[in-house]
Symmetry: D2
Subunit: 306 residues, 4 copies
C-alpha cells in the first residue's frame, strides 16, 4: 500500500527501505534534503492518494507534537496518522483526541529492533481503534519479523507506546541484573575466568537471552570492559515507567532500582552521600573527626595483649 | 570413563542416564533401593577402579556434608569427588580442604538445566584445580549441551557454585522484571490484550529470552494467571547471592529487591507495615483515628462551595 | 492583622483559633454553615479591608484549584492568596501565574503539625516573593512554634510545598526504617522483650526522634500491634516525591522503597508475584508442578544413608 | 560495685570514668600502659574479689574473641564477662557457650552514646540470663542516662548485640532518608534556602530527631557541605543487619538500599554500570557507537521543518 513517512533517520530510513523491499510505495520526508523524497510535509501529503496514511518517525516530545499538529492542518478527514516514535503514551491520548476532532485517525506504534530491524524485522506494539489498525495491517505485516510473533495490537490509543515503555522498563532491570551479577563475579577471588563464564551461559541456562548474547559480544571485544566507564544514560521510557507505576500504585522495586543506578552512575559526587558523611562526622562530636559509626566503641582502641 | 554417582533423584538419575547414553560406565547409589545399583557407598567405591571419581548429587547442606565426609573415609588418595548439588561455595572450600588433607581431589560443579537437561544437556560451571577438571572432561563433555557453550571452568574450588549462585541471582531479578512489567501492563486501562502482548515480544525485542518463552507457555495455559497465587519461594542461592554481595561490598539493589519481594509475597501480614500503620494512626492523636498522613490539612474538610 | 480563611476543618479551624488567640482578626468561611462566619467567599472578601490576605485550607487538587480560581474573580489587585493545603508544587506555579496576571499575589505554605499544632504551633514552609512573605509575617509568627525554628521561607512560589513534599518523603523512609527494624527484631528468637526495647531507645540512642516516641505510644497501648493490619495508605506527597526525583534524575532508593512497600501492603495478591510463581512452575516442565528453583538438583532426593 | 574493664579507649575510658564518678571501683587494663591500671589481664583478675565481673570493651572480631578466651582461662566459676563492644550476635552465642562450659557467666551489651555518653549516659541493650543481668544492674544504672529510658534487657545471650545491630540498621535508613531528601531539595531550582529549610524542621515537624539536629550542626558549619565528599563507610552492623534479614526472610528494602548506597559511594567506577554501558553500546550494532536505548528511533534524526 501507499505510505508517507516523516523522519528518515536511522530508524525511519531503514523502515522505509524495508517497506519498499516489501512492495509498498513509500514517500518520505526529512529536513535533510539529501534523503528526502519531497520538499515539505505539504508536498508529501499531496503525493498520496486519499485516504492517506502518514507514519511519523521523529524524536518524541515537541518534534512529534509539532509534526502531528502540522499533519492535522494538512490532512483530510478519513486520513490516518501513525506515531512510530518513542512518544509518551500520555501524549498519544492528546494527539489522538486532537486529530479525532478533525476526523483524522491516530494509531501509536512502539517499535523495537534497532539497526537489526532492516533485515530481521521490527517488533511492533500498536494502540488504536480496530478499524484503523486493520487498515494498516499490510504495513505492519511487512515491518514485523517473520513468524507468528513480533506484532501485537495491545489496546486503545496509547496502548502501543505504553507497552513499549514497559518493555523498556523490563529491559532496564534485565540489564541491571547482568550488571550486578558481573560485578559480584568480578569481586570474588575464586573466579579467574569471568568473560568465559558469561560466554558459557549462552546455552542450557535459565538466563539465556538476547541481552546475554549482546553482553558476550561486548566481552569478546573487550574482556575486562576496560574501554568503558560505568556511566549509563537513560531514556524517557525508563522514567515514564516508574512514573506510571507511581500513578497506578504498582510496586516496582527492581525497575526503579535500575533507573536510580543509572542516575547515580552519572554523578561525580552524591549530595545524599555528603549528608551521610556529614552525619557520620557529627557522631564524633566537635573534638574528633570520626569514631566510626558514631557509637563504635573501641574503633580506635588497640586490642590488649592477652 | 567410569563414574560413581550418589543421589539418583530427578537430577542425578537423569544425569546418570545421559552419561550411559554417552558411553560412560556409571555406578549409582541411592537410599531408595529401587533405583540404586549398589547397597552402600562402600559398595559403590568397591565397584570402581582407582583412581576413582564420584559425583555427589544430594541436597545441599548437611546431606552433602555427610556424603563428602563419608567419601573421605572410604576413598583413597588420588581419587576425586565432584559436588554437583546446589552447595554453598563456602562449604566447597571446607570440603575441598578436608579431602585435600587426605590426598583426595575435589571439584565443585553448578548445574543448570532442570528436566530438559536429559535431552538438551546441562549447563555446567566448574571450580577446581586444572588437573582434576581435566580428568573429568569426558564426563563434562557428555553432560553439557552440544555446541561451544554450556561449560566453563570458572576458577578455583568453590568458583563453580559461586557463579551458579550468581546465575540464580540474575535469574531472580529477571523474573522480577517480568513480574513488575506484567503488573504494570495489567494495571493500565489502555491495554486490553495482556497475554497477547507478552507473546508478541518473543521476536524482535530486546527482552526476548528463555524466561519470556516460559512465561508465555504459562500465559497460553492460563491467560490471566488465575490459577496461581502471588506466592514465591526462594532457594538458598538467592539468599547467598545477597550475602556474598554484602561481604564483598557490591551494591545489589535489583537482585536484593527481587529476593525481598519473594519474602514479602509469603507474608499474610507485614509486621513492618503494622508499624507504619501504627505511626499513621498516632499522627492523629488520641482523639481521632487518622487524619491521613498526620499533618494533612483539610483531609477531612469539605471543599467550600465557590 | 486581618486574615480570611477558607476551609475550617480540623486544620483550618485550629489555625483560625490559634490566630485569634494571638490577637489576629480572622474571618472564616466553610461550606459547613455551623462553623462558618460568612455565607460565601464573596461575603468573606467583603468583610476584609484591602489589601486583603486570604488563606486557603481545603483539600489539594480540584477543590484548591476551584477556590483559587474563585478568589481570582473576587479579589482585587494588591490582594494576596495563601495556599496552606497539601498542594502539588506544580499546581502552585500555575496558580501563582494565574493570580499574578490579575495583580494578585500568591504564597504557598506547607504546614506540619497535625492535631498538636493548635497548642504547640505549626511548622511552616513558605514559597513566594519576599514582599508577599514579609506582609504575612505576623500571621506566620503566630502560627509557628515558639523558638527559633519551625518557619522557613524556602524560595520561590512552589518552594514551600516542594520542601513540605520532601519532608513527607523523608518521613516515609523513616517510618519504613522503624517498620523494618521492628520486623527484624520480632523475627529473632533471641529477643523476648520487643516493645521494651523500642521504649528504651527513647534516650541516649542515635535514632531517638518524634516518630520513635509515637511508635512507643502505640506500643504502650498495643504491645504486639495486634489491633492493626499491615496495611498502609499513602498520600499524594509520597508519590510526588518519587516523581520529582525521576524528573530531576535524583536516585531515591530508600524513599521509593518505602512508597512501594505501602503499595504492596494494600494488595491481596501480587500480579508480579503470580508471574514469578508461574515461571517457577514452568521450570519443572509439564510433567511436574515444581522442583524448587527449576534446576535444583536433588530437591526431591532423599539423602543417602552414609 | 567492683568492675574490671579491658580496653580503655575513647569508649572504655569514658565508661570507666562515669562508673568511678558513680561510686564504683573500676580496675582497667589496656595495652597502652599510660592509661592502664594494671600490667596484664591476669593482674586485673587478681585485683578483683570473687565473684568477679569483667567488662570487655575492645574491637569486635578477633580482639574480642581473644580477650574472652583469655578471660575463660583466668577467671573462676561464678565470675561474669560482659562484652560491651560491637560484636556480632552470632559470636556472643559462641562466647556464652564457651564460658558456660567453665561455669562463667556471659552478658552481651550493645552500647550507644559516643562521646556524649560520659556526661549524658549510654543507651544500653543487654542480652543474658536474668541472674547475671540482675547482678550487673548497679553498673547499668550508673552507665545509662537518667530517667526511665536508655536501658533494656532484651532477651537471651546475643539479644543485646542483636537489637543494637538493628538499631544501627534503622540509623542507616534514617541517614539515607535525610540524604535523599537533601539531594532532592538541592536539585530544585525553586528552593533557594536549603540549609535554612533543614534548620527550620527542628521544631513542629514529623521528622524532628537527633539525626536532624546533627545534620543541622553540620549545615551551620558548612552550609553547602562543600568540605565533604559523598563517600560513606559502613560498619559491620549495617552488613549484619541485612544478613540477618536474609536469614530470617524479612524484607528489608530501605535498610538494604541504604547499605548499598554506601557501597556505591566508595566506587570510583561501577563494574555493573560498565555492563549496562556495554549493552547500550551493543544495541547500536558494530557500525555505530550508540543510538540511545538501542531501539530509539530518531535519536539521531533532526526533526523536520513543519
Amino acid at each position: 500500500m501507499e505510505l508517507g513517512i516523516i523522519g528518515l533517520g536511522k530508524m525511519g530510513g531503514n523502515m522505509a527501505e524495508r517497506l519498499r523491499r516489501g512492495g509498498h510505495t513509500v514517500v518520505g520526508y526529512d529536513r535533510d534534503t539529501s534523503v528526502s523524497d519531497v520538499g515539505s510535509v505539504e508536498e508529501l501529503v499531496g503525493r498520496l492518494a486519499a485516504p492517506r496514511a502518514v507514519w511519523v518517525m521523529v524524536p518524541a516530545g515537541q518534534p512529534t507534537a509539532d509534526t502531528v499538529h502540522r499533519l492535522g492542518e494538512v490532512l483530510q478527514p478519513g486520513d490516518l496518522v501513525i506515531d512510530g516514535g518513542n512518544s509518551h503514551y500520555v501524549d498519544d491520548q492528546k494527539h489522538g483526541a486532537d486529530l479525532a476532532a478533525k476526523g483524522i485517525g491516530f494509531v501509536d506504534c512502539g517499535v523495537s529492533g534497532g539497526v537489526w530491524g532492516l533485515e530481521n524485522g521490527y517488533a511492533l506494539m500498536v494502540g488504536g481503534d480496530d478499524d484503523n489498525v486493520k487498515r494498516l495491517m499490510p504495513i505492519f505485516e511487512t515491518l514485523k519479523p517473520e513468524g507468528e510473533f513480533g506484532f501485537v495490537h495491545s489496546g486503545k490509543v496509547g496502548a502501543g507506546h505504553y507497552v513499549k515503555m514497559v518493555h523498556n522498563g523490563i529491559e532496564y532491570a534485565m540489564m541491571q541484573a547482568f550488571g550486578e551479577g558481573y560485578e559480584l563475579i568480578e569481586a570474588s577471588p575464586l573466579v579467574t575466568k569471568v568473560p568465559e563464564t558469561f560466554l558459557s551461559w549462552q546455552e542450557g541456562t535459565v538466563i539465556r537471552s538476547w541481552l546475554l548474547d549482546l553482553l558476550n559480544r561486548a566481552l569478546v571485544d573487550d574482556p575486562e570492559l576496560d574501554d568503558l566507564r560505568g556511566y549509563a544514560n537513560d531514556s524517557g521510557e525508563g522514567r515514564w515507567t516508574v512514573q506510571a507505576a507511581v500513578e497506578h500504585a504498582v510496586p516496582l522495586p527492581a525497575i526503579s532500582a535500575s533507573l536510580f543506578a543509572r542516575f547515580a552512575s552519572r554523578q561525580d559526587d552524591s549530595p545524599a552521600m555528603r549528608v551521610v558523611a556529614a552525619l557520620r562526622k557529627q557522631f564524633g562530636g566537635h573534638a574528633v573527626e570520626s569514631i566510626g559509626d558514631g557509637d563504635s566503641p573501641g574503633a580506635d582502641v588497640d586490642p590488649p595483649k592477652v
